[in-house]
Symmetry: C2
């Protein structure tokens, strides 16, 4: 944190939270009336600690049953309240939360930091134990069991064809007025002695996209579909009806990547500089 820069904003300070959860007993991230959700649990605890309604914004709104090791969220809290509990903040938050969600770290963030809009990339993993044994018992809540051996070489080849910027309408649950153009930056497969693990990084994902991609790729891994089949559905105009959506418990949000603190600050300074230029309104909003 740069002490020369004010981080409070009208008495509020922005916190960045790094969060992990076991999705099994959550109805996903997003708050819903009468259902247990990660956002709902966290906002309730924060409200209790800060005596304030504190809406939480996250990087990846995970579905019901999906896990997270590296979810990131931000919230604005009264600076004086935070300073009172800062030293014991992490301990108090985790003590108040149930064991299936943990705040791994909490820190005062740059006021320009936005967990959702500052994120450069999200990384998800999907684990499948393919074969007679299934997942190790201690890992069974986060690894899908698949009865037959999958051809991971074919799946990796099919994944390579998905790299880059495409319209993923074929793999997404449609939402009105929302773009489904995304850029897959990397897509790798690793076989351990226990399971196959796919790791996919994109600027962002649309709804159920990773699980749909995995559904298409496992069809290739089973030999039911050719290697080119998943990529053939890129830039489709509607959701592919024959792509199964794999179960949520194999999926984990692993990591969210942000610009460095220095880059964030530089960007903020740059924005500020532009706002101080007399031609700012013209250059940004165009002529009137």
């Amino acid at each position: 944190m740069n002490n020369d820069e004010p981080t409070s904003n009208g008495g509020l300070i922005r916190l960045r939270l790094d969060i992990s959860y076991d999705g099994e007993f959550f109805n996903g991230w997003a708050k819903q009336e009468k259902l247990r959700t990660v956002q709902g649990e966290l906002e309730r605890i924060f409200g209790f600690i800060f005596f304030a309604e504190t809406p939480l914004t996250c990087a990846g709104r995970t579905d019901s049953g999906v896990h997270a090791r590296g979810q990131v969220a931000h919230m604005d809290v009264p600076e004086n309240k935070w300073r009172e509990i800062e030293a014991q903040g992490l301990y108090r938050l985790n003590r108040a939360l149930a064991e299936d969600v943990r705040v791994l770290a909490v820190q005062v963030a740059d006021k320009d930091f936005d967990a959702r809009f500052s994120a450069l990339a999200r990384t998800y993993s999907y684990r499948i134990a393919d074969g007679a044994v299934g997942p190790l018992p201690l890992n069974r809540k986060s690894v899908l069991s698949w009865p037959d051996r999958l051809n991971d070489v074919a799946m990796a080849q099919a994944s390579d064809l998905l790299l880059g910027e495409h319209d993923f309408t074929g793999f997404c649950r449609r939402r009105e007025f929302a773009t489904t153009i995304r850029t897959i930056q990397s897509f790798t497969w690793e076989r351990t002695t226990e399971y196959l693990c796919a790791t996919v990084t994109a600027d962002a994902f649309c709804h159920s996209m990773v699980r749909s991609l995995m559904g298409a790729l496992t069809a290739v891994g089973e030999g039911r579909k050719p290697i080119e089949w998943p990529a053939s559905m890129l830039n489709a105009t509607e959701r592919a009806s024959d792509v199964p959506v794999l179960p949520p418990h194999g999926l984990t949000l692993e990591h969210v990547r942000y610009p460095s603190q220095a880059e964030l600050a530089a960007r903020a300074a740059d924005t500020k500089k532009r706002r101080q230029r007399p031609d700012y309104r013209e250059s940004v909003h165009g002529s009137h």
Copy 2:
């Protein structure tokens, strides 16, 4: 498997099973009337598959709540029944078992292989997430949560003093007529970003020994006891009353070490040779 050697014995064949389980919903390994146990579950399934009562012998009789990644057991089954299902054996066993116990491998073993008595060493791990955060939610069933930071350097020094052959009566639940002399072969500590992991290998362990050792060592890690304290209880004549037994869920049986197949065979051949010598009775049982 050496095809020159008969592996069946009166129509029976010896199987070696490598087994993993999540101990949470088991009342330990050992069969008990009306309780769910690992041995009870496995023997029931094997009885169902082989139409035979098949007592199972394991390397480490874990307590209620203790996990295993590398448990080993043996059993004798009718050779003809095994040959019938061999190709699908692993798949059928695991399909019949609940997801919290898995047979990782099943193979025909040398008739001299004994899961308990052939074992050269057992390795257990104990995991403790010490600090404000606690275990990652997906690992919370196998990692103990400890609210304060432990001094792992002091704990490692205290562990070093436990190496070698000692009478561990001070750390064991006493059993009549059973020796409590054991040899600790290695005792290491590793700190990951998430937890502290102790890994301890001995020829064998007596009842609740690892959890008692961990109780003594965490007292050192907290600074409540000096580094020499755990070793001062070696060769005691009764159980130390001020050693807490840590909870079972942090404990996992990781690995059992056996002589190689060649060593087992050599030992068996050696035994056979001695039995064929005319002076065998004298040399083994002494003079009459």
